[in-house]
């Protein structure tokens, strides 16, 4: 007997991601998936963003790393609420790991009305792109020391980005990184995606990204509410 099914190969993960998204939405939370290669500054950007975001909404952080709880400890030291996922070898987070992190966080409805769940993926510019986690927004970071050719070399992850952050702009004077070259490649890979050059270290440019983040997160929350989906 032959059975036609026609389901997505990663369907099991996508169903779990959808369940995560619903669970978050029902409690008033929006998840953001932060992706980049190792060391681009995901945790640094979260540290820089925390105090400013906490003035606007509730914030919680899920840290994904292959080993150690160091990033969750950094976020906790910065005053944030964080849980660590150690993937023990896996090069990406998947929706099931995030579901377990949600169990641990026990996110209730925030006093401020809504919350942002920042999910820092495992540092890797390839595999995490394929795995939905339940996020409403995807932010891909690229830092200046990595070079301005990475959009063309690793297009998959950029094709799914809702925003691209160019971090470590404070180092740009010492490097031959050109924002225009990134923009040109993005025009082919992900036309119209907003780009935020900034420095998590100095804080310059972080405000513009946060403004985008808060506005878009709120929009997604309203949209879902009115669609009832």
């Amino acid at each position: 007997m032959k059975v036609e099914i026609g389901v997505k190969a990663l369907g099991a993960n996508e169903r779990q991601a959808e369940a995560n998204r619903r669970r978050l939405r029902e409690a008033g939370w929006v998840a953001v998936n932060l992706l980049s290669s190792p060391g681009s500054g995901k945790t640094s950007l979260i540290e820089a963003a925390l105090p400013r975001l906490e003035a606007v909404c509730a914030v919680a952080v899920v840290e994904g790393d292959v080993e150690t709880a160091r990033d969750a400890e950094r976020v906790a030291a910065a005053g944030g609420r964080a849980v660590q996922i150690e993937t023990r070898g896996a090069c990406h987070l998947d929706a099931r790991m995030v579901a377990r992190a949600l169990d641990e966080l026990e996110l209730g409805r925030p006093a401020s009305g809504w919350g942002l769940l920042l999910v820092e993926n495992v540092g890797n510019l390839v595999c995490p792109a394929e795995y939905l986690l339940g996020e409403e927004l995807r932010v891909v970071l690229l830092s200046t020391p990595e070079g301005d050719d990475k959009v063309a070399k690793y297009p998959e992850v950029f094709r799914t980005a809702d925003a691209v952050v160019l971090n470590k702009m404070d180092l740009a004077p010492y490097l031959d990184f050109r924002v225009e070259r990134v923009g040109r490649d993005l025009a082919a890979v992900r036309p119209g995606v907003p780009v935020f050059p900034l420095s998590a270290r100095s804080g310059e440019g972080v405000e513009a990204w946060l403004e985008w983040l808060v506005r878009n997160a709120r929009e997604r929350l309203e949209l879902r509410k009115s669609a009832g989906a």
């Binding site: 007997m1 032959k2 059975v3 036609e4 099914i5 026609g6 389901v7 997505k8 190969a9 990663l10 369907g11 099991a12 993960n13 896996a90 090069c91 990406h92 998947d94 390839v126 595999c127 394929e130 795995y131 063309a152 297009p155 998959e156 094709r159 490649d185 025009a187 082919a188 890979v189 036309p191």
Partner: protein, 115 residues
């Protein structure tokens, strides 16, 4: 990409679907895979052989993959073309960048066969 992770999920999908359809022995699984998924045939086959183990898979169960060519549509002149050379979409007619991928990103379990 990441053939092992994909295959883990495929095997899970097959288990669920076989149970739903009341199949106890799965002899053949058909997938549709687009060329833009960057899935490597050998790696996919290797992952299949490693993971299609035990119930409900028949010993020697086969994986058949239909590979789909990519097709893009130019946003400027409307030309439909096969995108060459990497992931950047560049229209061979007018040189415009970007546009829509019509095919090539498929990654599906199409059917299962058994008894």
């Amino acid at each position: 990409m990441h053939e092992f992770g994909i295959m883990e999920s495929v095997v899970e999908v097959v288990r669920e679907e076989a149970a739903r359809a009341g199949l106890r022995r799965v002899e053949r699984v058909a997938m549709v895979v687009g060329e833009r998924t960057a899935v490597l045939p050998e790696a996919l086959e290797l992952a299949w052989e490693a993971l299609r183990d035990g119930e409900p898979f028949a010993p020697g169960a086969r994986l058949e993959v239909e590979w789909r060519q990519a097709e893009a549509a130019c946003p400027a002149c409307g030309l439909r073309y096969h995108p060459e050379g990497g992931f950047l979409l560049v229209c061979p007619g007018c040189g415009a960048l970007g546009g829509e991928l019509l095919a090539g990103e498929e990654l599906r379990v199409a059917s299962i066969e058994g008894e």
